[in-house]
Structures are given as structure tokens and as C-alpha cells.
């Protein structure tokens, strides 16, 4: 269980204040909420990309090397697609097998682009590569921040399949931030709704997305359900 007992961060006028959030391991969690509600800030604080003002968290036996985060505009190493995929393995001193790298390149729809300079990829391709790069070393916890926003529908389906396959073979804990509610509904076992820097409600996809009485959640759903 990933426990957030108290997490606080003030950025300008915005105050994030998350108390007693529990994320069950080996499950897929979705974090939804309006823009500016603190979703990205929360996962940046949890992964160490931002320094909290107050932090009481218990991640059990997890170390930094077990956790990975992908962001909406991923950084591409000034190198080939292939070498971008080897980086997480190198820093973990894991064996680099060419067939594994090539398998991931094929799997994420980048076949034939292994020698291409990664920063020259399109934004959708960069997001695919960033996801493959995050998954290649089999992390125990994966934070995904709007990474599928620029992908075409086929690629989103492809990654949903990849996530499902991983959960069958070697389950990981996923924390997915997204406005694509269909995608969240299909994948997640637990959804946390954020509003004004706090967790307003947590529950199953049905509880939050279909049967919630909370007016803030209902207003949010009315905006995002159309076309999702």
C-alpha cells in the first residue's frame, strides 16, 4: 500500500493539501479533476520531481528505482530511439538485450525508427517512446501524467492492451492522470477525484463516474463525458 498521510505544497496562490490517500499496490488508479485541481502537482510530489512543504508518506519497500513517471511533454535524449530505450536499463545496471529493445520498439508502433534521432519524432511518437522507456525495466509503480493525450485512438488502444498484458503477467501499481474518461473507466480499478488541491472523493469507476451525487464531480463529468 502506498500511503500518503500528509502532503502539502504551496505554489503561488495554489495550495495542495492531500491527507490520508491510500493507493493499493498492483492496482490501476486514476486521478481526475479539473485543470488546476492539483493532479500533476500531486504526482510530481509523490515522485520527487517537486519538493513538498510537508511530507509524511510511506511507500513501504519501494525505492526510487522502482518508480517511474511519464509527463505530457517527455524529454527525449539527444540520441537514437534505441538508445533512449536503453537508458533506464543502463542506470539500473540491467542487462541490455537487443531483442527486448526491438520488441518494445515494435510493440509501441515505432518499427523501423530505432536509428532515428529521438527529438525529431512527432509528439505522438515521443509519447509512445516515453511510455515504452518507462515500462521497459518493469517498474513496480508507474505514474502517467496525460501521456496519452497526443496519441491517435489506435495507439491509445494499443497501450491499453500493453497495460492489461502487464497486469496479467507481472502486475504493477499504476497512477494515471487523464481527462480521457472512457480510457480511465476501462482501465482503472480505483478513481480519485481532485478539486482545489485536495482529494474530494475516491471510489470505484462506477461510484465516481456513473453514480456520484457530488455536484462538483457531476459538473466535471458533464464537461468531459462528451466525446470521451
Amino acid at each position: 500500500m502506498l500511503k500518503i498521510i500528509k502532503l502539502e505544497k504551496k505554489i503561488g496562490d495554489f495550495q495542495l493539501n492531500v491527507n490520508d490517500l491510500r493507493l493499493e499496490e498492483k492496482k490501476i488508479h486514476g486521478i481526475i479533476g479539473n485543470n488546476g485541481s492539483g493532479k500533476s502537482t500531486l504526482i510530481k510530489l509523490m515522485t520527487g520531481l517537486l519538493k513538498p512543504d510537508t511530507e509524511i508518506m510511506d511507500f513501504g519497500t519501494l525505492t526510487k528505482q522502482d518508480i517511474v513517471i511519464t509527463v505530457p511533454r517527455p524529454y527525449m535524449l539527444h540520441d537514437t530511439v534505441y538508445n533512449n530505450l536503453t537508458y533506464p536499463l543502463k542506470i539500473r545496471k540491467q542487462v541490455i538485450k537487443k531483442e527486448t529493445i526491438m520488441e518494445w520498439i515494435d510493440r509501441c508502433g515505432l518499427s523501423g525508427k530505432e536509428k532515428q534521432y529521438a527529438p525529431s519524432l512527432s509528439s505522438g511518437e515521443r509519447q509512445k517512446l516515453s511510455l515504452a522507456r518507462a515500462l521497459i525495466f518493469e517498474p513496480r509503480v508507474i505514474f502517467i501524467d496525460e501521456t496519452m493525450a497526443n496519441m491517435d485512438p489506435d495507439s491509445v488502444v494499443l497501450f491499453e492492451q500493453i497495460i492489461s498484458e502487464i497486469q496479467l503477467k507481472k502486475p504493477a501499481t499504476w497512477i494515471i492522470v487523464s481527462h480521457q474518461l472512457t480510457h480511465i473507466y476501462k482501465l482503472c480499478q480505483c478513481i480519485h477525484f481532485m478539486d482545489a488541491g485536495s482529494i474530494l472523493a475516491s471510489g470505484t469507476p462506477d461510484e465516481i463516474l456513473l453514480n456520484s451525487d457530488n455536484p462538483v464531480i457531476r459538473q466535471y463529468l458533464s464537461k468531459y463525458m462528451i466525446g470521451n
Binding site: T47, V68, L77, H78, Y87, Y117, S120, A134
Partner: protein, 228 residues
């Protein structure tokens, strides 16, 4: 040889010694300036401390400081009655290296600081998001910024090789000892010895051209890699 002489170009042992001394001075000064300037530029970008803005302003001022003033300041420090006079460095090769380092190190640190400010935060965030430790993060920042660092070093070298005022003051333009290409050209023009002055001028021009070719090569290499 007759052809070169008829063109007004003279090549003799003194000219060769001057060229070699100039190259040695430029290389030693650039290496020392890089060893001081690169870590200092990175430190300025990474660490917040009281008075940082003032330090950055001083550094920027030093970047555009007139070399003759630097020469005068180093002269006053190294002169027999000066604070470092007992080391008897004035009119020696080390004195010229000190003067050139005072000129070039702020240029290198200032340029490294600016490059780091633009690039390092996203590289660091990427490394952290992948689970890299501090040392791995530092190495990645250096690796990703290597092309910028090459350009900065070449700029420093170019500045060193074309500098005249400071080395004239602290080196004294002593034959076979502290005479560089630029100070020799200045002296030969005064003596009306245009053959040797033209020769050194052409060599200096040639070196600048080679440096420019090298910069172009790096740029083209980077563009080629990006387009592949």
C-alpha cells in the same frame, strides 16, 4: 620558399616558435578556464544562495571586460611590489596564462550558466523521473549538453588566440619567451617588418578559419543526426 617570399610571406624559426607558443598559450588557458568555468557555471545554475544575482552580474560584467584592463590588473598583482610579486611571474608564460584565464573563464562560466538554465532543469527532471541517482543525473546533464560545451570551449579558444592587450602587458612581448602572434604582429608593424606581420596575420586567419570549420562541422553533424 621563393614563391612565398615573393608573395611577401616569411617563414623562419622565430615565426614557427611564435605560432607554437601562441597555440600552447591558447590551449593551456582554455583548458584551465574550462576547468574553472564549466563547474562554476553549472554551480550557479543549480545552487541558490544569498548574493547569487550579484555574482551573476559580476560574471556578466567580466565577460565583456576590456582585456587591457585585465592585463593591467594582473600586472599590478604580479609586479615586484605587488601582492604576488615574490613569485616573480611577471613577463613569463604563466603570467600570460593567468591573464587569459581571467578573461576567458568568466566567458565560459557565463555561457555555461545560460545553457544550463535553458537545458539542465528538463534533463534533471527526466533523470529523476527515470530513477537516476545524483551522480547519474549529473553525468546525463553533461552528456546532453556536450555540443553546447564544445561550442563554448571553441569560443573561449578563439577569444584566447586573438587576444593582444593583456598578454602584451603581462608578457612583455619578449622574443622567444612571451611573444605571441598578436603581439608580434603589433611589434612588426611598428618596425615596418610587414613580411613577417602578414605571415602571422595569415596564420591567425587560417587558425580562425579552421576553428570556424570545426564549429560548422559540429553543427552539421548535429543537424544530420537530427534529420536521420
Amino acid at each position: 620558399m621563393q614563391f612565398w617570399t615573393s608573395m611577401g610571406i616569411e617563414i623562419n624559426q622565430e615565426i614557427i616558435d611564435i605560432i607554437l607558443l601562441t597555440m600552447k598559450l591558447a590551449i593551456v588557458s582554455t583548458v584551465i578556464s574550462a576547468l574553472l568555468g564549466i563547474p562554476f557555471g553549472m554551480f550557479l545554475e543549480r545552487v541558490d544562495f544569498f548574493g547569487k544575482k550579484v555574482i551573476i552580474r559580476i560574471n556578466r560584467t567580466l565577460m565583456g571586460f576590456p582585456p587591457v584592463v585585465v592585463g593591467l590588473a594582473v600586472y599590478l598583482l604580479l609586479m615586484r611590489r605587488g601582492p604576488l610579486g615574490r613569485w616573480e611571474l611577471l613577463f613569463t608564460f604563466p603570467a600570460m596564462v593567468i591573464a587569459q584565464t581571467v578573461i576567458i573563464a568568466p566567458i565560459i562560466s557565463g555561457m555555461v550558466y545560460t545553457s544550463c538554465k535553458n537545458m539542465a532543469p528538463q534533463i534533471r527532471n527526466f533523470a529523476i523521473s527515470m530513477g537516476a541517482d545524483r551522480w547519474q543525473t549529473f553525468l546525463l546533464v553533461i552528456k546532453e549538453m556536450k555540443n553546447d560545451i564544445y561550442f563554448i570551449l571553441i569560443t573561449g579558444f578563439g577569444r584566447s588566440i586573438s587576444e593582444v592587450g593583456a598578454v602584451m602587458i603581462v608578457g612583455g612581448n619578449i622574443k622567444y619567451k612571451t611573444r605571441t602572434m598578436t603581439t608580434a604582429i603589433s611589434l612588426m608593424r611598428n618596425k615596418g617588418d610587414f613580411g613577417e606581420a602578414i605571415t602571422l596575420g595569415l596564420v591567425l586567419l587560417g587558425i580562425s578559419f579552421i576553428i570556424q570549420c570545426f564549429v560548422d562541422f559540429l553543427r552539421r553533424y548535429e543537424e544530420n543526426v537530427e534529420n536521420n
